[in-house]
C-alpha cells in the first residue's frame, strides 16, 4: 500500500520556505497507524515541532507527542518527538563512550563544547546524525530505548543535506582514525541503504523546483537514496479547465457573474465593483495555475514519486496536519 514499505528512516529536506517541517510532521502522523510507533526528530534548534503541535518546548529526550492518524480499521499509532541539539548530544556522546563525567564539565569550562559543536568542521552534523542513527539503526537500541517502526527527520535544507548526511565522508577525510570515524562508517551504511529515503519538499515555483532537481542530482552523486517529491502549497482548483482558460483570457461572462451575485443577494456589492474584483481574482488565479502547471511538468520529469498537498489558506494548525497526513496516506506516501 505504501510506496516505501522498507523505509525506516524518512529524511525530509527541501528549500527554505517550502514547508519542510509541516511535511515531516504530517508524514509522521500518516506513518503512525495500526499501533505503529513513529519518532519525529528536529535538529535545527527551532522548536518547530513544539509550535506545530502546540506543546511545551521539547527537551533533549523523547516525548510522546500525539496519536497518529487512525488506519483503515480505526487503529492509530503514536508519534514521539525528539529535539536534538548538538551540545546535549556531545555531552551524551562523551558520557556514553568515555564516561567523561568530570572531563565533560571541564570541557565546557574550556569552551570545548562550544568549539566542537559550532566550529570544528562537521562535528556538529555528526553529533546530530549520530543521535538520529541511534534511534533508527537496525536491531534495536542501546540502553533499552524505545524501538520505533519509523523515524522521520525534519532535516536541514536541500543546500546542506548532502553535507549533513554525508558529513562522515568529509569528516573521515580529516579524522583518519578515531571513534567518530568508525561510527561514521556505520551511519553511512544506514543512510545509504534501502531503509532510508530522502524526500524533498517543493512548491510549484521555478527556484524551488530547480533546487529540487539539483538536490536529487547531488543526493544521487553522493549515493544517498532519493525518496519522493512532496509538492506543497498547491493552489485550490476552484475553476474548471474551460473556465480557467477564459479567466486567463479575460473572457469570462461578466453578465452571468453579475446575475449570479444578484441572485445570491449581493446586488449592492455587485454594483460596487465586486464583479471586477472577482474577475481579477480569477485572472490572477489562472496565471498562477498556468505557472504551476509548467512547474508540475518539470516535477513529473524528475522521475520520482510525487505527492501533492494543498495550500491551507488559514495556515497549518493541528487539524490541518492531520488533514495533510490523510492526503499523504491516500497518495501512498505512508
Amino acid at each position: 500500500m505504501s510506496d516505501w514499505p522498507d523505509v525506516r528512516l524518512h529524511v525530509v529536506t527541501g528549500k527554505g520556505g517550502t514547508g519542510k517541517s509541516t511535511v515531516a510532521a504530517a508524514l509522521a502522523l500518516a506513518l503512525a497507524y495500526g499501533g505503529r510507533d513513529v519518532l519525529l526528530c528536529e535538529v535545527e534548534g527551532r522548536q518547530g515541532i513544539a509550535r506545530m503541535f502546540d506543546v511545551e518546548p521539547l527537551p533533549y529526550e523523547e516525548r510522546r507527542l500525539a496519536t497518529g492518524l487512525p488506519g483503515r480499521r480505526g487503529r492509530a499509532g503514536t508519534v514521539h518527538a525528539l529535539h536534538v541539539d548538538p551540545e546535549s548530544a556531545l555531552l551524551e556522546y562523551l558520557a556514553m563512550y568515555y564516561r567523561l563525567g568530570r572531563a565533560g564539565r571541564l570541557l565546557d569550562r574550556f569552551g570545548v563544547v562550544d568549539f566542537a559543536t559550532t566550529l570544528a568542521p562537521g562535528v556538529r552534523d555528526v553529533l546530530l546524525t549520530g543521535k538520529i542513527y541511534e534511534a533508527a539503526k537496525p536491531g534495536g537500541r542501546r540502553g533499552g530505548g524505545r524501538a520505533y517502526d519509523a523515524v522521520v527527520l525534519d532535516a536541514p535544507p536541500t543546500g546542506r543535506i548532502v553535507q549533513f548526511l554525508g558529513v562522515s565522508s568529509e569528516l573521515a577525510g580529516l579524522a583518519k582514525v578515531g571513534p567518530i570515524r568508525s561510527q561514521s562508517d556505520a551511519m553511512m551504511g544506514l543512510f545509504r541503504s534501502e531503509a532510508t529515503a530522502v524526500h524533498l519538499t517543493t512548491v510549484l515555483e521555478e527556484m524551488p523546483v530547480q533546487e529540487t532537481a539539483d538536490g536529487i542530482a547531488e543526493l544521487r552523486e553522493a549515493g544517498l537514496p532519493v525518496g519522493g517529491v512532496v509538492v506543497d502549497q498547491v493552489r485550490p482548483r476552484d475553476l474548471g479547465d474551460e473556465h480557467l482558460a477564459a479567466a486567463a483570457a479575460g473572457t469570462l461572462d461578466r453578465e452571468l457573474v453579475a446575475h449570479d451575485l444578484r441572485a445570491a443577494g449581493l446586488a449592492e456589492e455587485a454594483d460596487a465593483g465586486l464583479v471586477d474584483v472577482l474577475l481579477a481574482d480569477g485572472r490572477d488565479h489562472a496565471v498562477r495555475r498556468r505557472l504551476e502547471d509548467e512547474q508540475r511538468a518539470l516535477v513529473a520529469d524528475l522521475g520520482r514519486p510525487a505527492y501533492e498537498l494543498p495550500r491551507l489558506a488559514g495556515g497549518v494548525d493541528l487539524g490541518g496536519l492531520y488533514e495533510l497526513a490523510g492526503l499523504l496516506r491516500e497518495q501512498g506516501m505512508a
Partner: protein
C-alpha cells in the same frame, strides 16, 4: 454587510494612521547619508530579490550602487551579469542611467574572501602554509558561520574601498541563508573569539613546547579532544593555530571594525520576512537583537503577501470577507454546482482568509514593535529573473 468596511491585511494597514508607520523605501535609498543597506531575515523569504531590487531602484534614482549577493537564482544572476563566483563587482547592463546612477553586482565567494584575508595578513610563505593546512581548508569552506563572517568582511572591504576612491556611494548587501537570521551577527564574534580564545591557547601550548603548561586538567581536555576528533585532526589544528598565531590580533581587529561599521549612522538594516509565523518570529528576534547591539533598523519588509489583484482595487464595499464570500459561494453553488461564479467566490474567500491571517500576523509583530516601520509587498505571480521584474519589485517596495 456594510460599506466602508476597512480593508484587512498587511497591505491595508500601511498609511492608514493606525499601528506602525509605513516604511518609506525611497526616502531611505534616496538619502545620501545612507551608505550601507543590509537585508537580513530567515531563509526563503526573498532577501536576495529584495536586495537586488533595492539596489536597482537606488541606481536608477541616481545612486552609484554595488550589491553583494550570496546565492542568487541562476537566471536572476545571469540577468545581472554575475554568473561567476569571483568576488569581483561587475557592471549590470541595461539599467536606466539617466539620473546619473550606476549599478555593479557581485556574488560572494566565501573561501576566496577568507584566503584574501589570510594573504593580506601574512607574508607569502606563511600564508601558503596556512592555506594548505587541512584544518584551514575545512574551516574556510564548510564551517557553519564562515559564510556569514565573510559576507561581513567583504562588506567592510567594499565599503572602505568605496569611501576611499568614491566608486560607490551605496553598498547593498544580502545576508546568507542562515538557519537563524542572527547567525551573521554572531558569526564574526564567534569565529574571532574562537581564534584567539582560551581553548586555542590550550591547543597551542604543546605545539610551543614547554610541558609545564600541561597540567592534569589540560591533559584531560586535550585527551578528550583527541579521542573525539582523532590525533591527526588535533595535530593539523595545532599546526594551523601555530601558523595563524600572529594573525589573531588582526582578525579580531577586523571583526571589531566590521561590527562598528554595522552600528554606524550610514548603515540601515532591513529585516525581510514572509507573512508566516516562523519568518515573523525570526524577524522579531532580529529586531530585538539589533536594538540591543545599537544597530540601526530601518524597517521590516514583508514579502509575498496575499493581496487584491492589481487593477481591481475597487471601493471597500466590493471586497467580501471570508465568511461572506463562502456563504455566497455556497448559495450560488446550490443552484448550479459547476457555476463559475461559485468558483470565483471560493477563490475570493480563500484569498480573503489568507489576507486576514497575514494581517493578524503582521499586526502582532507591530504590537510588539510599534517603532518599526513596515512595508508589505504583494506576491508576484511568477519568479523574478530580469531587470524588469526587479523594477516591479522595487516599485512595490516603494509603494507599500
Amino acid at each position: 454587510m456594510s460599506r466602508g468596511r476597512p480593508r484587512v491585511g498587511p497591505l491595508a494597514r500601511t498609511g492608514d494612521g493606525t499601528g506602525a508607520d509605513a516604511l518609506d523605501v525611497d526616502a531611505l535609498i534616496g538619502d545620501p547619508a545612507t551608505r550601507i543597506v543590509v537585508c537580513c531575515g530567515s531563509g526563503g523569504v526573498g532577501k536576495t530579490t529584495t536586495s537586488a531590487a533595492l539596489a536597482l531602484r537606488a541606481a536608477e534614482q541616481g545612486r552609484r550602487v554595488v550589491v553583494l549577493t550570496i546565492d542568487p537564482a541562476r537566471r536572476l544572476a545571469q540577468s545581472m551579469g554575475i554568473e561567476e563566483l569571483d568576488n569581483t563587482p561587475r557592471p549590470v547592463v541595461g539599467i536606466d542611467d539617466a539620473a546619473g546612477g550606476a549599478l555593479d553586482a557581485m556574488m560572494l565567494d566565501m573561501k576566496r574572501t577568507f584566503d584574501e584575508v589570510v594573504e593580506s595578513q601574512a607574508s607569502g610563505d606563511k600564508a601558503a602554509q596556512i592555506l594548505a593546512n587541512p584544518f584551514y581548508v575545512a574551516l574556510s569552506s564548510s564551517f557553519a558561520g564562515t559564510q556569514e563572517y565573510m559576507a561581513m568582511e567583504k562588506l567592510g572591504q567594499v565599503h572602505r574601498a568605496a569611501e576611499a576612491d568614491g566608486t560607490y556611494d551605496l553598498v547593498v548587501v544580502d545576508t546568507p541563508p542562515s538557519r537563524s537570521a542572527l547567525d551573521f551577527l554572531d558569526a564574526p564574534e564567534r569565529l574571532s573569539s574562537f581564534l584567539d580564545g582560551r581553548f586555542i591557547r590550550l591547543l597551542l601550548a604543546p605545539a610551543r613546547g614547554p610541558a609545564r603548561f600541561m597540567t592534569a586538567g589540560v591533559g584531560l581536555v586535550t585527551g578528550a579532544v583527541t579521542k573525539l576528533i582523532g590525533a591527526q585532526v588535533l595535530r593539523d589544528m595545532q599546526t594551523f593555530v601555530a601558523a595563524f598565531d600572529t594573525l589573531f590580533g588582526g582578525f579580531r581587529a577586523r571583526a571589531e571594525r566590521t561590527f562598528a561599521l554595522l552600528q554606524a549612522d550610514g548603515t540601515a538594516f532591513l529585516v525581510v520576512a514572509a507573512p508566516e509565523p516562523d519568518a515573523l518570529r525570526e524577524a522579531a528576534y532580529f529586531t530585538e537583537r539589533l536594538a540591543e547591539d545599537a544597530m540601526p533598523l530601518a524597517g521590516l519588509v514583508v514579502n509575498r503577501c496575499s493581496a487584491v489583484p492589481t487593477g481591481a482595487e475597487g471601493p471597500d464595499g466590493a471586497v467580501l470577507s471570508t465568511d461572506e464570500a463562502t456563504t455566497a459561494a455556497t448559495r450560488v453553488a446550490k443552484r448550479d454546482p459547476v457555476s463559475v461564479t461559485a468558483g470565483l467566490l471560493r477563490l475570493h474567500a480563500d484569498r480573503a482568509r489568507a489576507v486576514e491571517r497575514e494581517g493578524r500576523l503582521v499586526e502582532r509583530f507591530s504590537a510588539a514593535h510599534p517603532d518599526v516601520p513596515v512595508v508589505a509587498v504583494p506576491a508576484l505571480a511568477g519568479d523574478v529573473h530580469d531587470l524588469d521584474g526587479l523594477r516591479e519589485v522595487g516599485r512595490l517596495l516603494a509603494d507599500g
